[in-house]
Symmetry: C2
Subunit: 425 residues, 2 copies
């Protein structure tokens, strides 16, 4: 089979980038068969060409002149991360007629529409499987496999760091602080863990998935985002007793007049397929009208798994340059609005500490009734002169629950109102 | 956005076909956005136009003249099933320049190479997501998402009927016969259940998956296929005691000099992600060099889930007719040979009934040592004057185990030799 040659430029050479270099070299013949093109890595743009690199990275390909490199490329792989200079370089590549493969979730969740428009205008392709859930082909699934269906909901565990921390808290009865310190010692959490533990990384990923699934524009700022800093060992122990685990879930749901998108610590029933996703693994569940529930599970991070996702995109983009056609355009034809967080409907729990007196339960139940929220289950445990009351609702909008929580905080019988937590399964 | 028109012909209008008709009508505008084409269903070929159909199937589209219908079509959806006339009609469609979407696993596993060659020659597309595991996009994953990686193994639960029967045997301690009768009563098993319970349906599916994953030709006859008829309630109870479940697994593995492909009842450790796949659900696990382990889970059968897979293929095929390009060609460039079943390596268990005398264990262990098979674990339970011995090996080729089993059958201390069973996890 005769092959054309495609020039590949790599921007960034960290953990994922150097794995991409390795796989491009090792599987060169396979790639030629699969996409009909020889993939020639013509250069690797890095900030510091003299920094130490793995042995298999060819020194002669390193350059600090990304602009010149891009000019010679048919296909640009961006693995720098962050907003700038990644955004400017990707736009430059698209405008010069190159297709782009990126794993940059923050950039897509912030400037996605600009990038998609530039891609369509230049009639090239933008692929970004590696931006969501590492090796798991969930972008592909949403973009192409579910193209014959109507997605109604997506929920996923898409941040390995928080999943590891919550797992450690659950299995070893650790405090949040102790589990975070362990994760940092093992390299699973950064010295500044806020992007992970405050839910921002997960928020970027669900924004990207919701944009594709609902053919609408969802940015990171549209996501109602809550992290795991406030989760206590007591909450985890109580969840375990009741048959739940606490997971940081990213969810997007189609509502009658728009979509709701959130990241929040969530009580997940042990029988739910997401409950058994542990450690650094990721999983995404989609619900759609015809296909029903699908789950995709795998390694959500790491050099080799993420590089695998990058290379599947490279093969797809290369094949399109050889044989014609293009990836589905992401111009948001549906344009469903993202609804305010208060309108997100779900089952919630709320924990209260109350004085243990006659009539207290009635006074607690009253605002639920007034706001039209029906109560599914109440558990009360005496604790000396106090009682702990845990209430699980039927499906209701978060806004009603927030109003109820505010009113309960003013109830003289109520000593403390715990955080609202959504429930799945 | 201006749209072109594509003429769609549907062959077959059973459970899946009539769902396809419904979704094509309901989501017509969405499809137009997604693939740049209006999808016009121009006819539905059926054997008997006067047979009863759901109300939403337009009577005026029914015809018993499939050949004439195909001549007018840009895209043919084949949902007749079976080898003929499906094969002839698909070849006619491809040769006339139409792209084809099919869910016909038996046909692909038998005549796949002929169909793929006709597809490449006519420069059209053949899509068949619905042929394997219903709505789960595993054909897509193997064909495209893992195109940047090297698959080393695939294993899956891809037959809902047998999974349901084994589940019933496990959770209700039923015999095979009782569980099968229940499944038949509920419509989960056919009156003649052999395609399911003898593993033929699963064999067709693993042949298709192995062909894609290893870029080689694997037909249904290459699959070493064992069914579940011989599984006893005692085996299931013993597996449960040891922390395993028995699942009908379809597996394909890359070996140094080829591939091994099999369908067999398998002991799956409770901690393995496939162990918790229950009832009519399907799941496929892929192992690849860079991505590691990925799992895909969802509904493996049923009208709507299968129709969702068909329509994702229709959208992909339609987009390619509008925008150019084609699906990955499946001309088997790697051509790895399928190795004989005897060379399939794995961990196995073998159960023996023996006379309970001194020296018996030594005489049992001797052939293992002579064939170079190392024993991982032995369990012996006295049962009156007899004993039951269950041996789990370390990784070894099936052929060695079969030779050992034959020799043990001739051992005067051995009263009965049970079936060899592979072990996962």
């Amino acid at each position: 089979m005769a092959h054309v040659d495609l020039n590949i430029a790599l921007l960034g050479c960290g953990t994922v980038g150097s794995e991409v270099v390795r796989l491009l070299a090792e599987q060169s013949d396979d790639f030629a068969e699969r996409c009909g093109a020889r993939l020639n890595l013509i250069g690797i743009a890095v900030r510091d060409v003299s920094a130490p690199r793995p042995d298999h990275v060819p020194r002669e390909l390193l350059t600090d002149d990304a602009e010149s490199l891009i000019e010679r490329a048919d296909l640009v792989i961006e693995l720098i991360g962050g907003l700038e200079p990644a955004r400017t370089l990707i736009l430059r590549a698209l405008n010069s007629g190159a297709s782009v493969v990126t794993g940059n979730k923050a950039l897509l969740a912030t400037h996605g529409p600009e990038l998609h428009e530039a891609t369509a205008r230049a009639d090239v392709d933008l692929y970004y499987e590696a931006a969501v859930a590492g090796a798991i082909p969930v972008v592909y699934a949403l973009r192409e496999s579910l193209a014959g269906d109507q997605v109604t909901a997506i929920s996923g565990i898409v941040n390995g760091t928080t999943n590891y921390i919550l797992d450690e808290m659950t299995t070893k009865a650790l405090s949040y602080e102790a589990a975070l310190a362990d994760a940092q010692k093992l390299g699973f959490a950064e010295a500044d863990p806020s992007a992970d533990v405050d839910g921002l990384d997960a928020a970027a990923k669900i924004a990207i998935m919701a944009s594709i699934a609902f053919h609408s524009r969802v940015g990171i700022d549209d996501v109602d985002t809550r992290g795991i800093r406030e989760i206590t060992a007591e909450q985890i122990a109580a969840a375990t007793r009741e048959g739940y685990v606490i997971k940081l879930l990213a969810t997007a749901r189609r509502a009658p007049n728009g979509i709701t998108v959130q990241v929040a610590p969530t009580l997940v029933a042990r029988t739910h397929p997401l409950a058994s996703v542990s450690g650094a693994y990721n999983a995404v569940v989609t619900e759609s009208e015809a296909a029903g529930r699908l789950m995709f599970y795998g390694q959500g991070a790491g050099g080799a798994p993420t590089a695998s996702a990058v290379l599947s995109d490279v093969v797809a983009a290369a094949a399109k340059r050889v044989y014609g056609g293009h990836a589905p355009r992401e111009l948001p034809y549906a344009s469903l609005p993202v609804l305010p967080a208060a309108s997100a409907r779900g089952v919630f729990t709320i924990d209260l500490t109350v004085t243990d007196q006659p009539g207290v339960l009635a006074s607690i139940a009253e605002p639920f009734a007034r706001h039209g929220v029906s109560i599914g289950q109440v558990r009360q445990d005496a604790d000396g002169p106090r009682a702990r009351v845990s209430i699980m609702t039927h499906t209701a909008p978060r806004g009603a629950l927030e109003a109820i929580a505010d009113e309960l905080a003013d109830n003289p019988h109520v000593i403390a109102v715990g955080a609202l937590m959504p429930v799945e399964g």
